[in-house]
Subunit: 337 residues, 2 copies
Amino acid sequence: MKVTISDIAKAANVAKSTVSKVLNDSPKISRETKLRVRQIMKEMNYTPSSIATGLARQSSYNIGLLVDMSKGSEFLNQFFYNIIGGIESVIGSLKYELTIANVQHSSPEDHFLNRLVHSKRVDGIIANNSVLTEALAAELDRLQFPYIAIGEIPAPGSWVDFDNELGGRMLTQHLLTQRYSSIAFIGGQRDEKIFTRRYNGYAQALEQSGLTASQDRIINGKADEHEGYRAALTLLQNPDRPDAIVCMTNYAAFGALQAARELGINVPAELGIAAFDEYPLSRYTTPPLTSLNIDTFKLGVSSGHLLMERISGGSGLPSRHLLLEPELILRESTTRN
Amino acid sequence: MKVTISDIAKAANVAKSTVSKVLNDSPKISRETKLRVRQIMKEMNYTPSSIATGLARQSSYNIGLLVDMSKGSEFLNQFFYNIIGGIESVIGSLKYELTIANVQHSSPEDHFLNRLVHSKRVDGIIANNSVLTEALAAELDRLQFPYIAIGEIPAPGSWVDFDNELGGRMLTQHLLTQRYSSIAFIGGQRDEKIFTRRYNGYAQALEQSGLTASQDRIINGKADEHEGYRAALTLLQNPDRPDAIVCMTNYAAFGALQAARELGINVPAELGIAAFDEYPLSRYTTPPLTSLNIDTFKLGVSSGHLLMERISGGSGLPSRHLLLEPELILRESTTRN
DNA sequence: TTGTACGCGTTATCAA
DNA sequence: TTGATAACGCGTACAA
């Protein structure tokens, strides 16, 4: 049933090595031989075994995407499909396949370093920065194994991320342009890098307009609808309440909208609300939310490119960082006319 | 740098075959030998090459998930992460990895049948029924290659799906229980199996209550917010308007809610609205939507199990079908008190 | 219980 | 331009 390179060689009356060269389109094979052998391959319906090729070439033609399926990894969860699509679009055309692996390991022998790296199941790795810890990155560096992080990681790792600082500036500047002047910021934990980045952008935009970020306008916490609601309530019940809020997520913004509605505060007339992420709610709230869209497909594409660069470029390459620009989507929640 | 089975054998003063047997925990190796060899494997940081193992065993220990990244495959898109998690949870513990492959192929040689099946990159396939066409299924059957469809496909294919008919009954029966008596159905195309199933469930529930489904209560179309809005508007502007609507998707339901709001029709008092799917909007509409939740992780688990069953069970197995039960989530949009 | 020898399907290195 | 043969790393009869 299964036809191998030897069968083709026999049928074509040539040596295995000749068939192999035809497969790889070697320049040192005559035109006629190539055509004849290829013809026979069609006829016999031959496809080379990727496993045997991999063994001979010492490469799996496979790249791994690491995920932590245990903690509902909020970020990846939403954009998984797009990121995968992006990665696939670049590695696929280079004849690589994508293997998804869960980092949850029961026994130490099941650790992905063994399952994927040491066993040579993949030639390179892409992983979220929450998965790619500093210790792991160090180990991969030691092994000179190619990897790219999605999200910023410490040197000397290479990574791709969205420009969160720029995002913070964009949202805040937009609110200022719409004549909001007292802008609050809700959601996110102080010790998260992503909060720091976004907050810095927010503060920069304020400063550029001669304003300063005051700490009682900042409320940290889990960026879901409940905390968003509570945070907004706290801010809005203050007599000196803000006239705009930048929210870490669209869920937090949803909570803020609820709070405003309950307090009879009109959005956008009396209060502007802008959120960092677009999916999945921003289009569907009342009023619809002004938010920042991120091109997650492109995130996949970029990480794929960077990884392939490292795989083919050897281990001497300097580390690289890529910041992708978010896009501002204007909607009713900040449209004052 | 790389340590092979021969290195271990040399270091342990045994034959390669002995090391191999230790690796596979063969019962015909003495306790002491095993311990000693294993000790050395630890010390030398040895992990067997999955490629070499695969070649020797004629199996890749890899299963493929096929997706069509081109058309934003509405269904998979949303639940990709959960489905993958489900599949991974069952195949991962069996030492299999998951390869994601895009069925979009530029050249015929890039067709996944070559890239994955003929080249033996994967030992089995899971795919959405929109990808796994009848022709493809027939070809896989001919090759005796194990596969499972997510979503119903014609015999003799094996598949896993949600019980859409049951879902239609559940939503409709619930509405009847809430004393709604004139129930409409919007969204979905006549020629889609999924519409037929759901509609049949709806019609069955009506019949069981002595009612009949009348065709002017059914509006077909794309199940997004625009069509949902238009359909609801049409229904609700009729003097003989329905007092409840079953919607094919939460997006269509979102549109229906909009229409009701514009017409000043109170939901749930004057109009009950229930939707088939829970994510991502149903929790966040005003009022929140009663909807059907589907356990997509379980969908992944089931398809994984069925596939492994076929892989290990040989090719003589009869085809199997699995229907998963949806879960009714009660919310304000149908709560009449 | 352990070891020898060969096979798995391909690539790579030389000769011819 | 083509061919013989040795890797690649592991599994497995079969023999010892």
